[in-house]
C-alpha cells in the first residue's frame, strides 16, 4: 500500500499511566508517575511531543499494557528504553500477528546498539500517529502491506545507534577517556586500554543526560552480527508454547461483560424487531441491546452470552437485502467481460496484434470469495478510562483508523481513545479493516450498555465466517497471440471484480483514474516482454463486503497471469521456464528467482512418471520476488496431492533468515488452502459456509514437504509476510496440467469437471 490520505487526524496526546487492571509486566520497572521520566525524553529524529514512550503506558503482548519507566531508566527515543536492571525494551510499532515483527524490529535495534539478544524484550507501542506511524503511510499508524521491516529498517537501526552513542558518551565522561576508544560488544561497554567495562544498566542514568546524536552512524552491513544471522530465537516463542501469551480472547477485567451478537443473515438485512424474553431468561445474561449491526447479548461469561444470543428471536427486514448467489454474480461478470473496462495498461496495439497472430489462446480464470478465518475470531475489549475516555484492547492493526472510528461512535476526541495492542491470533488482513467493523461494533455495544461497564466482544466462528469482508470473487479473461515462431506478440487481460478500496479512506491514494490499484497489482505490469499489451478493469459494486486478504490483488492476478503463461508456453511447444526466461530480459530479479527455484526444485531432473507433474510460477508482490516449483501426484479418478514445494525468494536484505523461511513456508501453506479447498459461496445472498467443517482449510495431512532458498542481496529489505501466498495456486495448477494434460481455470482446484 502506498501513502493513504486520511483527513481529520489530530495528533494523539501522550498517554497517561493510570490503570493497571490486566498488567503482567515481565520486568520490574519501579512504579512512578507519568511525569517522572520526562527529563529523559529526548526528541531525536521524531518530533518531540510531550512525553516519550518510556513515560507513557506502553501496551504489549502478554502484558495488555506496560509499565511506566522508572527513575534512572534511559529512554533515548520513542523506540528504546534501557532499564537500570540492564534490560533493553524495544517499543514495536507494528502488530505481531505471527509474521515476526516482535523479533525483526528488536533485531534492528539490537544490531546497532550491540545489545545481547537475551537482554532485549519487545513491547507493543501505544497509539500515537506522530511517533509510531508507518513511514510508508504518512501520518497513519498501522500494520499491513508487508511493510513492517521495510519501513522501519533504518528508523529502528537509528534508534539503536543513538542509544549506543549516548551510552558510549556516558562511559567516556565517567571514565575520562576518549569515546573513540570505547567498544560495545554483547551488551557490555568497555574501554580496553584501561580495562574498564560496564553493562548498559549501570550507564543508563548517565546516558540519559547525554546529548542525543543528531545523525548516528549506522554500521556497514559487513559488520552486522545479528541482521542476517541464520537463527535468532523468536521473542514470542516461549510465551506461545506455554500458554501464557495474552490474546484479546484472554482479557478479563473486573466487572466485564462478554457480548455475543446476532448478525443479519443477509448482506443489507436490518433488525425490524426482536423478542429477547428467552435470552433474558438465560442465567448470566445481563443486558440485550440493539446496535446498528444487530442485537447484542451481554452476559457474565461467553457461554451465557452465546446461549442468550442463540435464544433471541430477531425479525429481520430483508427487503433491502442482497439476494444474488455466487453463480449469478459470476454470470454477470462474464457479461461485463464482453466489453472493455477502465484502461489499466496499454502498450502497442493488442487488438491489431491479435488479429495478425498465428495462434490465439483464450482463457477464463475465476476465484471465489474467501474468508480470512484467522484462528482467533474477531474480538475486542473496550473499557472506561480516566477523563471520560476509553481503552480499547485487541490485536490492533490499524491504530489511526480505528481510533477515529471508535471515537466517532462514542462522541470522543480520538485522543480519548487509548489503544493497547495485544498479539493477534492471525489476521491475514482481517484486523486492518478500513471500516473498523468489529471495533465499531464493540463500541456500539459498550455505548448501548451504558458506557460504564467493560465489554468484551467475541465473535463465534460462525459469526467470523459469515461476516463478509471477504477477498472478492474475481473473473479474469485473457487472450494472447503467438507469432509463427511461438513468440508472444499480444496480451489482452480483462479483470472483473469488486474494489476493496472504493469508499474507504484509502481511495484517494489507491484508486487512480477509476482503477483500484489493488485490483490490478500483479497484472498491470507483467515481467514478460510482450510488445502489445492491453489490460482493463471492471469494478462492479455489490453489497457483499470485501477487504484485503493476505497478498491482496496478487491472490487472483498471479493465478491468471502465471497459468496463462504456461498455456502460451504449451501452445508454443516450449519449456515453461525457458519460455518465461526469454521474455524476462528486463526483469532480472524475477528471472533469477525463477531459475533458482527451477534448479533447486528438480525442474531439469528426468521427467516424473505418469500420474505425477511439476509446475512452476513466479510473481513479484510487496517488493519481493518469489518463485515456486510444485510437484503433484494424481490420486484415483479425481484426487491429487501436492507432495513437495521448492521456494526461491529475493526480498532484498534479509534481517531474520529463519523468519523469512517461516513466512515462505506459512505463506505458501495459506495460499495452498485457497488453491485446494477454501471457498465462500452465496446462494440467494446467504453465505453457505459457517465453520471449519464447511469452510475448508489446509490441515497437516495435506501440507507438502517444503524447501526455501533465499537469494543473497544487499538491496533494501522488502516484504515477506504476503509474497509467498499468491504463487502456490498457479504453481499447483500448472503441475496439475502437466500431470493430466488439461488446463485448470478455477480455484479451488478440482480435477472433476
Amino acid at each position: 500500500m502506498s501513502t493513504p490520505k486520511i483527513v481529520n487526524l489530530s495528533p494523539a496526546a501522550a498517554t497517561a499511566a493510570t490503570t493497571d487492571t490486566v498488567d503482567r509486566g515481565r520486568r520490574s520497572f519501579l512504579k512512578t508517575s507519568a511525569g517522572a521520566a520526562a527529563g529523559l525524553t529526548l526528541g531525536v529524529w521524531l518530533p518531540a511531543r510531550g512525553q516519550m514512550a518510556g513515560a507513557g503506558r506502553v501496551a504489549g503482548p502478554g502484558m495488555a499494557g506496560g509499565e511506566p519507566a522508572a527513575a534512572g531508566d534511559f529512554a533515548p527515543n520513542a523506540f528504546v528504553r534501557i532499564g537500570t536492571d540492564d534490560s533493553v525494551t524495544v517499543v514495536c510499532k507494528h502488530l505481531e500477528m505471527g509474521q515476526g515483527t516482535f523479533t525483526g524490529l528488536p533485531t534492528l535495534v539490537a544490531e546497532e546498539l550491540d545489545a545481547r539478544w537475551e537482554q532485549v524484550q519487545p513491547v507493543g507501542a501505544p497509539v500515537d500517529n506522530a511517533r509510531y506511524n508507518n513511514l510508508f503511510w504518512g501520518q497513519v499508524q498501522g500494520t499491513g502491506g508487508s511493510t513492517a521491516i521495510a519501513n522501519a529498517y533504518e528508523q529502528m537501526r537509528r534508534a539503536g545507534a543513538a542509544a549506543r552513542g549516548m551510552l558510549v558518551g556516558a562511559a567516556a565522561e565517567q571514565w575520562q577517556v576518549p569515546a573513540a576508544e570505547i567498544t560495545v560488544v554483547d551488551g557490555v561497554v568497555s574501554h580496553p586500554k584501561s580495562g574498564r567495562s560496564a553493562g548498559f544498566g549501570e550507564l543508563a542514568e548517565a546516558a540519559a543526560a547525554q546529548p542525543v546524536p543528531e545523525a548516528p552512524t549506522l554500521k556497514d552491513p559487513s559488520a552486522f552480527k545479528l541482521i542476517g544471522k541464520a537463527f535468532l530465537p523468536r521473542k514470542d516463542s516461549k510465551a506461545k508454547c506455554t500458554g501464557v501469551a495474552q490474546f484479546t480472547q484472554d482479557v478479563r477485567l473486573p466487572g466485564m461483560l462478554t457480548a455475543c451478537v446476532a448478525h443479519p443473515p443477509l448482506f443489507g438485512a436490518k433488525v425490524r424487531g426482536f423478542d429477547d424474553s428467552a435470552a433474558r431468561a438465560v442465567p448470566g445474561v445481563e443486558q440485550v441491546v440493539q446496535i446498528p449491526s444487530g442485537v447484542a447479548v451481554l452476559a457474565y461469561d461467553f457461554w451465557s452470552a452465546q446461549q442468550g444470543r442463540d435464544a433471541l428471536t430477531v425479525d429481520w427486514d430483508e427487503s433491502g437485502a442482497f439476494t444474488q448467489g455466487s453463480a449469478e454474480i459470476l454470470a454477470d461478470y462474464r457479461k461485463l467481460a464482453e466489453r472493455p473496462g477502465k484502461p489499466v495498461t496499454s502498450i502497442g496495439d493488442a487488438e491489431q496484434a491479435l488479429a495478425g497472430a498465428e495462434t490465439v489462446i483464450e482463457a477464463e480464470y475465476s476465484v471465489p470469495f474467501l474468508a480470512h478465518a484467522a484462528m482467533e475470531t474477531m474480538d475486542c475489549v473496550i473499557t472506561p478510562d480516566a477523563g471520560g475516555g476509553v481503552r480499547v484492547i485487541n490485536g490492533e492493526q490499524f491504530q489511526t483508523i480505528d481510533q477515529q472510528a471508535v471515537a466517532g461512535v462514542l462522541g470522543l476526541e480520538p485522543s480519548q481513545v487509548r489503544i493497547e495492542m495485544l498479539y493477534a491470533g492471525g489476521s491475514f488482513g482481517r484486523r486492518a479493516n478500513p471500516q473498523s467493523d468489529y471495533l465499531v461494533e464493540a463500541a456500539h455495544i459498550f455505548k448501548a450498555a451504558g458506557g460504564k461497564t467493560p465489554v468484551k466482544l467475541i465473535w463465534t466462528r460462525e459469526d467470523d465466517t459469515r461476516a463478509g469482508f471477504y477477498r472478492p470473487l474475481y473473473l479474469h479473461r485473457l487472450k494472447a497471440g503467438l507469432d509463427a515462431s511461438g513468440k508472444p506478440v499480444a496480451w489482452q487481460h480483462r479483470i472483473v471484480g469488486q474494489s476493496i478500496i472504493t469508499g474507504t479512506a484509502f481511495e484517494p491514494a489507491l484508486v487512480v483514474d477509476g482503477v483500484d490499484q489493488t485490483s490490478v497489482e500483479g497484472a498491470k505490469e507483467i515481467p514478460y516482454a510482450i510488445p502489445n499489451q492491453a489490460v482493463d478493469l471492471h469494478s462492479p459494486q455489490l453489497p457483499v463486503t470485501v477487504q484485503w486478504w493476505r497478498a491482496v490483488g496478487s491472490t487472483h492476478t498471479a493465478f491468471a497471469v502465471e497459468c496463462m503463461l504456461d498455456e502460451l508456453a504449451a501452445a508454443a511447444g516450449k519449456d515453461p521456464v525457458d519460455f518465461r526466461v526469454t521474455l524476462m530480459g528486463e526483469h532480472p530479479r524475477e528471472r533469477d528467482v525463477l531459475k533458482l527455484a527451477a534448479q533447486r526444485g528438480g525442474w531439469y531432473d528426468p521427467p516424473l512418471p505418469d500420474g505425477r507433474g511439476r509446475g512452476i510460477a513466479v510473481h513479484k508482490s510487496f517488493g519481493s520476488y518469489v518463485a515456486m516449483v510444485a510437484e503433484v501426484t494424481l490420486d484415483g479418478d479425481d484426487g491429487f496431492s501436492v507432495d513437495r514445494v521448492v521456494i526461491a525468494v529475493d526480498c532484498g536484505t534479509v534481517v531474520n533468515p529463519d523468519v523469512v523461511v517461516a513466512q515462505m513456508e506459512g505463506g505458501m501453506g495459506f495460499g495452498l488452502s485457497a488453491a485446494l479447498m477454501s471457498e465462500i459461496t452465496l446462494v440467494d445472498g446467504a453465505v453457505q459456509q459457517s465453520n471449519f467443517d464447511d469452510y475448508l482449510v489446509l490441515r497437516m495431512d495435506r501440507m507438502p514437504a517444503v524447501e526455501v532458498h533465499l537469494v543473497p542481496s544487499t538491496e533494501a529489505p522488502t516484504g515477506v509476510g504476503e509474497p509467498a501466498t499468491p504463487v502456490i495456486a498457479p504453481a499447483v495448477a500448472n503441475a496439475l496440467a502437466a500431470a493430466t494434460g488439461r488446463r485448470f481455470h478455477r480455484l479451488p482446484l478440482k480435477r472433476a469437471a
Binding site: K238, K240, T242, F302, S304, M375, E665, R699
Partner: protein
C-alpha cells in the same frame, strides 16, 4: 456445584453442567492458555488432556469431566505427561515453530498425547494424528519436524 480437578488442583465451580469444559477452564478456573477456535471440535485449539487422552474441550460438557484428571497447557510440564510435554515444548522453541501462536497450545497438547502413546511416529502417523489441529499460519512443516525432534530427545 461442579468439582473439577485441573493440573492437580481441585476447583468447586457453580456453573451450568452443560457448559463446555473449555469455557469452564477459561472463564471459571482462569486458565486461558486453552483457546476457543471453532466450538465444534473441528480445529483443535481447545485441546486438553482428560485422563491422559487429548480431547476437544469445546465440545465436552463440563459435567463429563468431573472425577477425571484434566491437564491444560499451563500444567503440562508438571503433569502426568510432564517429561514428554517438556520435550515437545522445548522442540517447539528450538525450531521456532510458532507464528501467531493461537493454535499452538492445542498443537502441543495433541503432539504430547501422540508421543505418549507412539514414541516414534513416522510422518504418516503424525499427519493422521495431527490433522484435527488447524494452524492457519500453516506451521505444519515445523510441527512435523518438532515432533520428530522431541521423539529423538525422549528416545
Amino acid at each position: 456445584m461442579i468439582e473439577l480437578r485441573v493440573n492437580g488442583e481441585t476447583h468447586q465451580l457453580d456453573i451450568d453442567p452443560q457448559m463446555p469444559l473449555l469455557w469452564a477452564l477459561r472463564e471459571h478456573v482462569g486458565l486461558t492458555g486453552t483457546k476457543y477456535g471453532c466450538g465444534i471440535a473441528q480445529c483443535g485449539a481447545c485441546t486438553v488432556h482428560l485422563g491422559g487422552a487429548a480431547i476437544r474441550s469445546c465440545s465436552l460438557p463440563v459435567s463429563a469431566a468431573v472425577g477425571q484428571d484434566i491437564t491444560t497447557i499451563e500444567g503440562l510440564p508438571d503433569g502426568p505427561q510432564g517429561a514428554v510435554g517438556q520435550a515437545v515444548q522445548q522442540a517447539w522453541q528450538d525450531l521456532d515453530v510458532v507464528q501467531c501462536g493461537f493454535c499452538q497450545s492445542g498443537q502441543i497438547m495433541q503432539a504430547t498425547a501422540l508421543l505418549a502413546t507412539n514414541p516414534e511416529p513416522d510422518d504418516a502417523a503424525i499427519d493422521a494424528d495431527m490433522a484435527g489441529n488447524i494452524c492457519r499460519c500453516a506451521t505444519y512443516a515445523r510441527i512435523r519436524k518438532a515432533i520428530h525432534k522431541a521423539a529423538q530427545a525422549l528416545a
